[in-house]
């Protein structure tokens, strides 16, 4: 059987940099294929070549359904049935579901809008994936999972034979991920070829039949999913082996810094009792929407609880604002680094100093350049942030270095309680390790850390104790040494 897509010797250079070097890729009809690799490994360049956005260097060969092309362009690629669903979904939030799905009807020269035809196209595509929205709803009013379905419907409505999904599960709850996986296998049975690009190695292995690994623009290999595990996969992606041991629990004697008694907030979480000791790393896991982020925001003074008590050093406190929480020694690293954690357009200096401006101000309330630069230099070297010029915008840094800037910004406030919400999202595996090191050092220095994550290995291997939250309630509280990945997974999903 001829493969749907067969590429060989694909290279791409940007200036002097090889983004891709002699990569081969074969995609079969009715296959679910995963593409993994760290940032900068060449995944997105490869996708852009398949979708025709970028042309490969001469010498490569691309064949689609038996037909050879020297290179593609977006129109030809779409014509061949190739559809890319980008991570941001590229939907039009202000248009209706029907218009988004049947957007092809809107393209081209001046023409009357055939609303009836668009509605038929949309309903047909929606029927294929079992979606049941009102086609006249605006996409902005749908939840993320719904928007994802709309994006898939749009690809189907454009007669897709190959759908490439870039990080499709990044903002879905586990339940929604399961639904997506079911949908993908259905599409596959209908003869569709699906390419998944994902950071989450567990999911990759769950969905894919074959996995292609890229590293530094070179293809490491294509593997059958049932022959490898996530540890091996991360080794292939990074070239290093990362083995973590479970932290022994040895902190029963340390003083309790933070204690929650019967904390509750309508619609968010209920009956939360929790103790956090100095030097302890407490892992908190649960599904998206389980109430974990809402709880964290309550501890940071941004989401006031309706009942219950928050005790700091045994004293009840009420946190009216996050400024007050910061004054009392609580710091919060939000999950969404790009829009909440950092101000991307502004300089590294501005970002690192933002939380301590009052302290840096000297006489007359003025901050001198010397004080500011001294502060930045100190934190850049202390956290090993790779910076060419601290006046550059923080968006010029890699994900790992950006997260270090966030950590520097909060560590500078001398927190006694540090809440980290998914601190390694979008950070390369090799850079993750550095972040874990920093967290461990902080705990060793006596900071109480609440580590929130939906990656179970992350909480298991990097906390002393693990809490599981479900439907707004804490359902499990266990030292890491007394549990395991499968046990936690069951507790989270049960």
């Amino acid at each position: 059987m001829t493969p749907f897509l067969d590429m060989s010797r694909i290279s791409k250079r940007f200036g002097g940099v090889h983004a891709l070097r002699n990569v081969d890729l074969t995609l079969q009809t009715g296959e679910v294929h995963c593409l993994v690799g760290e940032n900068g490994s060449g995944k997105s360049t490869l996708i852009k070549i398949i979708s025709g956005v970028q042309a490969p260097e001469p010498g490569g060969r691309i064949s689609i359904a038996g037909q050879d092309y020297p290179h593609l362009n977006p129109v030809r690629s779409t014509h061949c049935g190739i559809q890319v669903i980008y991570q941001d979904l590229s939907l039009f939030p202000n248009l209706t579901v029907a218009e988004n799905i049947a957007i092809g009807q809107h393209l081209g020269g001046v023409r009357r809008v055939d609303w009836a035809a668009m509605s038929v196209i949309a309903l047909n595509a929606m029927a294929k994936v079992g979606a049941e929205f009102d086609p006249d709803t605006k996409v902005a009013e749908l939840p993320i999972a719904g928007r994802q379905l709309v994006a898939i419907c749009r690809a189907l409505a454009a007669d897709a034979k190959l759908i490439i999904m870039d990080e499709p599960t990044a903002s879905l709850t586990r339940h929604e991920v399961d639904a997506l996986i079911a949908l993908v296998s259905e599409l596959k049975r209908a003869g569709m070829c699906i390419v998944f690009v994902s950071h989450r190695l567990d999911e990759v292995l769950e969905i894919a039949e074959r996995v292609t690994v890229l590293r530094d623009g070179v293809k490491v290999g294509t593997f059958d999913a049932d022959t490898i595990d996530s540890r091996k996969l991360s080794h292939l992606m990074t070239g290093h082996a990362f083995d973590y041991d479970i932290h022994p629990y040895r902190l029963a004697a340390a003083p309790v810094v933070l204690e929650l008694q019967g904390l509750g907030r309508d619609g968010d979480y209920e009956d939360v009792d929790l103790t956090l000791r100095a030097g302890e790393i407490l892992g908190l896991t649960g599904l998206l929407g389980s109430g974990r982020t809402e709880l964290a925001l309550s501890l940071f003074g941004m989401n006031p609880p309706d009942r219950g008590v928050i005790l700091l050093d045994g004293q009840p406190v009420s946190l009216a604002s996050n400024a007050e929480a910061i004054r009392k020694g609580i710091a919060y690293v939000p999950e969404d680094r790009l829009t909440l954690g950092l101000i991307l357009d502004q300089s590294i200096t501005s970002n690192i100093t933002l939380t301590v401006l009052g302290r840096l101000a000297g006489r007359l309330g003025l901050i001198t350049a010397g004080t500011r630069n001294g502060h930045v230099t100190q934190w850049v070297s202390r956290l090993g942030i790779k910076v060419s010029d601290p006046e550059n915008p923080v968006k010029t840094l890699s994900g790992g270095n950006q997260q270090r800037v966030v950590l520097a910004k909060w560590m500078a406030t001398n927190p006694r309680v540090l809440i980290l919400d998914s601190p390694t999202v979008g950070v390369d595996i090799s850079a993750k390790d550095g972040i874990y090191d920093i967290i461990r050092q902080l705990a060793d220095a006596g900071v109480a850390v609440l580590l929130i994550s939906d990656e179970i290995p992350e909480v298991l291997y990097h906390s002393h104790r693990v809490l599981v939250m479900r439907h707004g309630r804490l359902t499990l509280d266990v030292p890491s040494s007394q549990t395991s990945e499968p046990a936690l997974r069951q507790a989270v999903n049960a």
């Binding site: 400024a323 939000p334 991307l344 357009d345 502004q346 501005s350 933002l354 003025l366 901050i367």
Partner: protein, 335 residues
């Protein structure tokens, strides 16, 4: 060495002058200066010319500072002119009620009281703007469009469009006097620009304003009370409009509900020309001053050449486009 384009010298000089907009503006200023010096000759350097430039710039300059503050936070203040006029009218109204004597403590005190009343009004308008924008979440363009119309309405309603004029000498001096040959209005401008520059570059407040301009939500998540910062910012913007009012009424020896309305969009032009990002987060007082000098120099030179002031407007517009296009053109050349 193949990227040795004609611009490379320009960019090198530009970078040594602080890079980016500052470099472009300095270069522009120098070249305009040379051109005008060659075309106009000696008259361009006469004390009269310099003094008239220095008399004209402060009004627009102070108003532009007021606009700049709002722009930096990602907002806009369309009410600055209306605020200035209402402030001017308030001061003028109090001044022309009764002036106790023509010298002495009571006389001076009354004038100070008049000015204080004006600033009270300006501050109040700033509070309304700030409250509606920061605490109610109304977009700045809408909120200040509302207060602009409202202030103008109050001013027109109370004065029926008439002028209030006839002020005591010290007030006139603010607009027309000189100290060692330097127009006092320019001193007032400096007394505004320097504190604003310090406020923006060397205080926690200023740092927060820039951060809010780029991403208000992330700034709030960093423990900054963004609403309080914005409220303060719009009060400052209003107070600066109040200072402009004082200079304006002093120069004309009168106040009116409709003075200086053509300045409104010119303040945006000046600020953006000076490198203020119209979407917020970036811009320095130094850049604004350079832009103001450039604009004023063109205006004065055209005046000396007996060219229409409307041609000046057109050239200002052209310069803005040219300067705004520089980053893109530079990127094209580099490629």
């Amino acid at each position: 060495m193949k990227e040795k384009s004609p611009l490379s010298l320009v960019t090198r000089i530009g970078r040594s002058l602080g890079g980016g907009t500052m470099g472009t503006l300095t270069l522009l200023l120098v070249s305009l200066w040379v051109v005008f010096a060659l075309v106009i000759g000696e008259r361009f350097f006469s004390v009269n010319t310099l003094q008239s430039m220095a008399f004209q710039m402060p009004e627009l300059g102070i108003l532009s500072l007021a606009m700049m503050l709002a722009l930096l936070s990602g907002g806009l203040n369309l009410s600055i002119i209306a605020t200035a006029n209402l402030t001017g009218l308030t001061i003028a109204f109090v001044l022309t009620r009764t002036v106790p004597g023509s010298e002495g403590m009571a006389w001076v005190g009354w004038q100070l009281l008049a000015i204080a009343a004006g600033f009270g009004v300006a501050g109040l308008i700033g509070l309304v703007n700030g409250y509606v924008i920061a605490y109610l979440g109304v977009s700045p363009i809408l909120a200040t469009l509302g207060t602009m119309t409202l202030c103008k309405g109050i001013a027109i309603g109370l004065t029926r469009g008439n002028v209030i004029s006839g002020f005591p000498d010290p007030i006139i001096f603010i607009g027309n006097g000189t100290i060692f040959g330097v127009p006092f209005a320019l001193v007032v401008f400096a007394l505004c620009a320097v504190p604003v520059a310090i406020l923006l570059n060397a205080t926690p407040f200023g740092a927060k304003v820039y951060m809010i301009g780029s991403n208000e939500k992330a700034t709030r998540y960093s423990g900054v009370d963004t609403r309080a910062v914005l409220l303060r910012l719009y009060v400052y913007s209003s107070l600066l409009a109040g200072v402009a009012a004082l200079v304006m009424m002093a120069r004309f020896n009168s106040a009116n509900a409709a003075y200086g309305e053509s300045y409104l969009l010119v303040t945006i032009l000046a600020a953006v020309l000076g490198g203020v990002d119209p979407f917020g987060g970036f811009g320095k007082v130094g850049g604004l001053i350079l832009a103001l000098v450039i604009l004023q120099m063109i205006s004065s030179a055209f005046n000396l050449l007996n060219l229409s002031q409307f041609l000046t407007l057109a050239i200002w517009g052209g310069i803005l486009i040219a300067v705004a296009a520089v980053p893109h053109l530079r990127a094209l050349l580099r490629r």
